[in-house]
Symmetry: C2
Subunit: 356 residues, 2 copies
């Protein structure tokens, strides 16, 4: 059970929100820096703090939020505790998944942990949001609808015809800044993405959700009862060790593996979207990181022990090996441990040739 504190802003008592951080990603697209032992979310890629730390701190300064619940891979438990300690945040619970079953079962464990009345703000541990004020405003916009039983998602204004994201078609208005989701669209082909972009009625599905635990669990009961049953049984048999929660492995392994989008959001009745422009990025590639990062006057983004004598538009990062380059343009050069990756910018998807 998580802490509660009243928030009397707006002259009325509002729900305290439990921040649920999903740390399941393996981050192979940012190899060689991101590795199974230290995936992307635990690296300081966009800031002196790691992406997990930025995520945990994102809503920690408001009395509207209770202590976070983390759902993570067991091998990262020590890393999570150490990184939370560095930013002086205490987790309500660190739920260590015995195996990976995608987001729907993971969020079910968090919902059962938080208690049915809790409002849950669910977000991945490895996204960047540069405009936190807009994010907080969007949460405030969604909250009354959440308290009325809606499952809310946040729609990111698309900046290009990305084929790597899911899209939402924004439907009828159900309140100031809040719309019904008319349709979910999985990762589209380029032509479909371009059509959605030019129509202007679609937003990216950023994977950030706000709903009451009981409404999510009710939706699971209706649309994915096997997930609910497995998660419930696994949670009932969980072993606790301080903040660490070890759900029962056999029970959890019996759950279907499915995303919250497929299992719940696409099927539930009252699903709302709050479109928001908040400097969101999933930092899903070295190219994305180049776009996010600070650049010098020659549009180079350089971090670490790097000597770049000349050249423009390069992303160069190292955590140890010294990189010396001259006369190269628009390259991605990443050194980590005993590995060096070299690709042209714009081709960072080719990291998959090496990372698996």
């Amino acid at each position: 059970m998580v802490d509660r504190a009243p928030d009397l802003r707006n002259g009325m008592a509002m729900s305290v929100i439990t921040h649920v951080i999903l740390s399941g990603g393996s981050g192979t697209r940012l190899w060689p820096m991101s590795t199974p032992d230290a995936p992307k979310q635990f690296l300081p890629l966009t800031d002196a703090r790691t992406m997990f730390q930025l995520t945990a701190a994102r809503v920690s300064n408001s009395t509207r939020f209770a202590r976070p619940i983390i759902v993570a891979n067991g091998r990262h438990a020590d890393l999570i505790e150490a990184q939370l300690r560095e930013i002086s945040i205490a987790a309500a619970a660190i739920i260590l998944e015995p195996c990976a079953r995608n987001t729907a079962p993971a969020i079910a464990l968090a919902a059962l942990e938080a208690g049915s009345d809790a409002a849950l703000l669910v977000m991945p541990s490895d996204h960047v949001i540069t405009d936190e004020a807009s994010f907080h405003a969007a949460i405030a916009t969604a909250l009354p609808h959440v308290e009325a039983g809606w499952l809310a998602t946040f729609g990111i204004a698309p900046t290009g015809p990305e084929t790597g994201y899911g899209y939402l078609r924004v439907g009828e208005s159900i309140g100031a800044g809040v719309h019904r989701v008319a349709q979910f669209r999985e990762k589209p082909d380029l032509a479909s993405a371009q059509a959605m972009l030019s129509n202007g009625d679609h937003v990216w599905n950023g994977g950030i959700f706000l709903f009451r635990a009981k409404d999510y669990l009710d939706a699971l009961a209706s649309h994915a009862p096997a997930i609910l049953a497995a998660a419930t049984k696994s949670a009932e048999r969980a072993i606790r060790d301080g903040a660490r929660v070890h759900p029962d492995a056999d029970a959890f392994a019996a759950s279907p593996s499915d995303s919250i989008d497929y299992a719940v959001m696409e099927k539930a009745d009252r699903v709302a979207v709050v479109p928001v422009s908040m400097g969101w990025s999933d930092v899903g590639s070295w190219d994305a990181l180049f776009e996010l990062g600070a650049k010098d006057e020659a549009r180079n983004s350089v971090i670490g022990d790097v000597r770049l004598a000349s050249g423009t538009g390069n992303l160069i990062r190292t955590d140890g090996i010294r990189i010396s380059a001259s006369g190269v343009d628009d390259l991605i050069i990443i050194a980590s441990g005993n590995e060096v990756l070299i690709l042209p910018r714009g081709q960072s998807q080719n990291v998959k040739k090496f990372s698996s």
Copy 2:
């Protein structure tokens, strides 16, 4: 004093030649693989054997040659002995220079060590000669003139208007395949190099010489007496430790620092050149090494732990760090120890921005 053995080829006794290997180069142009502790000549850059080993072995299979004299930096003594042991060659002497005074004093030490009647074949330790038969033929061509007191050099047929080499203008014929050197030309500007190339009467000065020790020492006495005096005094006071010879440091330090070209060859009277095409390269840059090396069907030259998914015309070498690259063309990527160098091919002279 070095071994002698009669060679009765051609029906007459010919001089036994002492091979003098100059290992003074610091090899900064092949950084980061070449370093002060293990410069270029001690690396296996073009073959499983190092360039020093290839040089030592180049004339070892002929009874015409006595055991070699090496002139080297003292810090490389162990490396030299180990590399000679690997190829079963015993040096007559390893002369360890107490300080660097360029080639004229270094060769003076070797000449004094070999004895005045010896014929010396002097060559740098870090050049490649792929056509050894032509080289041996050129030596045989030069030898009668050397025995008549000429100082001989070998002229490399130019393959382009290189500005990094010295040139020789080929003068009158003094015998089959042997000419008087009409003029020495130091490293020219590009226009001069192009003019010499199109005239067809110039060859590169490859830095390989053949002469009797006494003729070299006589020329020093005439044209650079201070070098001869310093080398003689340093050699007289040398300390010997097995094959290792430690010339007196103070005496050697008193020598002017000058190249054999400036101090002797440009000034002496009877200087001959044997033009020869023998696959010579000074391996003076990563670009030169790319041209020398074996390439795959996409014109990539790749050595070491390298994964190249796609790309053409790259030189990629590593002695440890794993390099993963995709979609890159015409790059030089060199990893050694904790260093990675990345340059476009054709710009390898820019290594000097990093190596010093």
